[in-house]
């Protein structure tokens, strides 16, 4: 028998916040833990439904319409527009903090 998560403690919420790259205060963590209890209780109602094997493997049937793999615009056509949106730039580069 599988026991489904019906409540989340503060550590669980902290883990989700880390995964989502969010800083949460202890008050916020408490409040989200309470919200999650209600939400998980609601979405866990789907666990009561049995489904057959064929449906279990379902991954979706949408068709994507893709264009030919050719050059669709000329090099540099949009660069300046996009660079202008960057919070920090250095010439034709987007500037980021040191990674290593």
């Amino acid at each position: 028998m599988i026991i489904y998560t019906l409540c989340m403690n503060n550590t669980d919420i902290q883990t989700l916040a880390d995964l989502s790259r969010l800083h949460l205060s202890s008050t916020e963590i408490e409040s989200y833990a309470k919200d999650f209890e209600g939400i998980l209780q609601y979405i866990n109602t789907i666990q009561s439904i049995g489904i057959n094997q064929e449906d279990e493997t379902y991954v979706g049937t949408n068709t994507n319409y893709l264009r030919e793999d050719t050059e669709s615009y000329s090099s540099g056509e949009f660069s300046e527009n996009l660079l202008q949106a960057a919070p920090q730039r250095d010439g034709d580069f987007i500037k980021v903090q040191k990674i290593l």
Binding site: I2, Y4, T5, I13, L16, A17, L19, S20, R21, L22, H23, L24, Y32, D35, F36, G38, I39, Y42, I43, N44, T45, I46, Q47, I49, I51, D55, E56, T57, Y58, V59, G60, N62, T63, N64, Y65, L66, R67, F78, N81, L82, Q84, A85, A86, P87, Q88, I94, V96, Q97, K98, I99
Partner: protein, 463 residues
């Protein structure tokens, strides 16, 4: 010519004949904006550019409000979020291309729940929007600004986006028509992605005929949206387009889902009026549809958490510098995203996490398939599926504090985002306090024409 007593076709005919000018319509919209927007807060930004002379297209020169998540190159667009407060669109959406070609006149960008997550337009960083019919009530959401702009005469029509009901529910709450087209009928290129397998762009208008006009204008195939369906492929579905006037009602679903007494009475009266228009009403069973909302609140946060990962403060949008790169990401997201967006990103992270994706995400995908099959099968015997749009009229501010209570707002609209079917909400009369109800019709895939036919019959029947 007042927006609320005319139709788009009539307005355009009068523009062409010279009875009115595009400037007069522009002035009329801006008069309503200057009188009401400070209170209603339907528009985040208004555009003062004057319209050109009227063109041939029926939407040319007609004032329209645009939801704040559809890109027009060179214009600010923020999805109701602090994250994109100063973001300027770097390219045109397909909608912008169409609107520029036909000479549409955009009067401003409409307020919305942050990143389209909400059912009341209370989560916008730019303040809540009030319902023009009763300012103590919400306009619905997430396209609440779009609906309120039309309801208060700031625009003749508006565009919104509908991921779980975000066009139809605010239309119902503001006494307007709201259409969610078939998935794949309207290009989403340049619509900010929330949950990509569910998002649709649709119009909010004063009548069904206007919704049809706007839909016909925006439903072009777009080779730059991989989910846009080619016209010839849509035609394969349209053999079900002839209207034999049979309406199916999923009774047991309605009985379970907490419909208010007055709302139920309104719905039953609406059905009997359709009978008088020559429609046959039959009961249908959709056994799995009661789980649609739970399925939705797994798939939608999962997709939203992936889509919103792009807001990292590096390439565009808000950027808050921290001690190192990881800290900068965290500070940027924490400062840029509001409460509901954070909640759904974390919920998405939870349902996709390695310990839980089988029990949540994959199970939800399987159920989505079953629900879709049930709805598609139902159309073997009926032309239209009818439900109320919402369980009740627009609620008062602060009435729904619990997230689940807010999510339940979408119980009747969500199923058709999961299945892809087109659906429309049409005003169906008022309650004892003068607030409007909505009648919700769903049709087979790509059979919008059937919605418009039945919708016009309904409008005639309820006069």
């Amino acid at each position: 010519m007042k927006f609320n007593t005319t139709k788009i076709r009539e307005l355009h005919a009068n523009l062409v004949s010279g009875n009115i000018t595009t400037k007069e319509l522009h002035d009329q919209a801006h008069k309503a904006i200057s009188e009401k927007n400070t209170t209603i807060n339907a528009l985040i930004e208004t555009y003062s550019e004057m319209p050109g002379t009227v063109g041939k297209h029926v939407l040319s020169g007609i004032p329209v409000a645009m939801k704040d998540n559809i890109l027009f190159k060179g214009k600010k667009v923020s999805a109701g979020s602090k994250m994109l407060e100063n973001y300027v669109a770097t390219y045109d959406s397909k909608i912008a291309e169409i609107f520029n070609t036909i000479g549409a006149h955009v009067v401003g960008r409409a307020n919305m729940d942050e990143f389209a997550m909400g059912s009341s337009t209370e989560t916008s960083y730019y303040g809540k929007t009030l319902n023009p019919l009763d300012e103590s009530r919400v306009p619905g959401g997430s396209s609440g600004g779009s609906a309120a702009a039309v309801a208060s005469g700031m625009a003749m029509y508006a565009l919104g986006s509908d991921t779980g009901g975000s066009v139809r529910q605010p239309a119902a709450y503001c006494g307007l028509v709201g259409l969610k087209p078939s998935y794949g009928a309207v290009s989403r290129r340049g619509l900010m992605a929330m949950a990509s397998s569910l998002d649709c762009i649709g119009p909010i208008t004063r009548c069904v005929e206007d919704a049809e006009i706007v839909f016909n204008a925006i439903s072009e195939y777009d080779s730059l949206d991989a989910t846009s369906v080619k016209i010839k492929d849509r035609e394969k579905y349209q053999e079900k387009n002839s209207n034999k006037k049979v309406i199916g009602v999923p009774r047991s679903f309605l009985n379970r889902e907490g419909l208010g007494d007055q709302a139920r009475e309104n719905f039953e009266q609406s059905l009997s009026k359709m009978k008088s228009e020559g429609y046959t009403i039959v009961d249908i069973e959709l056994p799995t549809i009661e789980h649609a909302l739970a399925v939705y609140y797994i798939i939608q946060p999962a997709e939203a958490s992936s889509n919103l990962a792009r807001y990292d403060g590096i390439r565009y949008g808000l950027s808050v510098e921290g001690e190192d790169l990881a800290d900068s990401y965290k500070k940027t997201k924490t400062e840029g995203f509001g409460d509901e967006v954070r909640r759904r990103i974390m919920l998405g992270a939870h349902v996709l996490s390695s310990g839980h994706h089988d029990e949540y995400y994959y199970k939800a995908q399987s159920l989505r398939k079953i629900i879709t099959q049930e709805v598609h099968n139902a159309f073997d015997n009926v032309d239209i599926i009818a439900t109320p749009t919402t369980s009740d009229v627009a609620f008062k501010f602060g009435e729904k504090k619990d997230p689940v209570a807010m999510y339940l707002e979408d119980i009747f609209t969500v199923p058709y985002n999961l299945t892809g079917n087109p659906a429309i909400s049409i005003p169906s009369g008022l309650n004892s306090e003068g607030m409007p109800y909505g009648m919700h019709f769903t049709a087979p895939l790509f059979c919008e024409k059937k919605l418009f036919e039945a919708g016009k019959d309904f409008e005639r029947a309820i006069i």
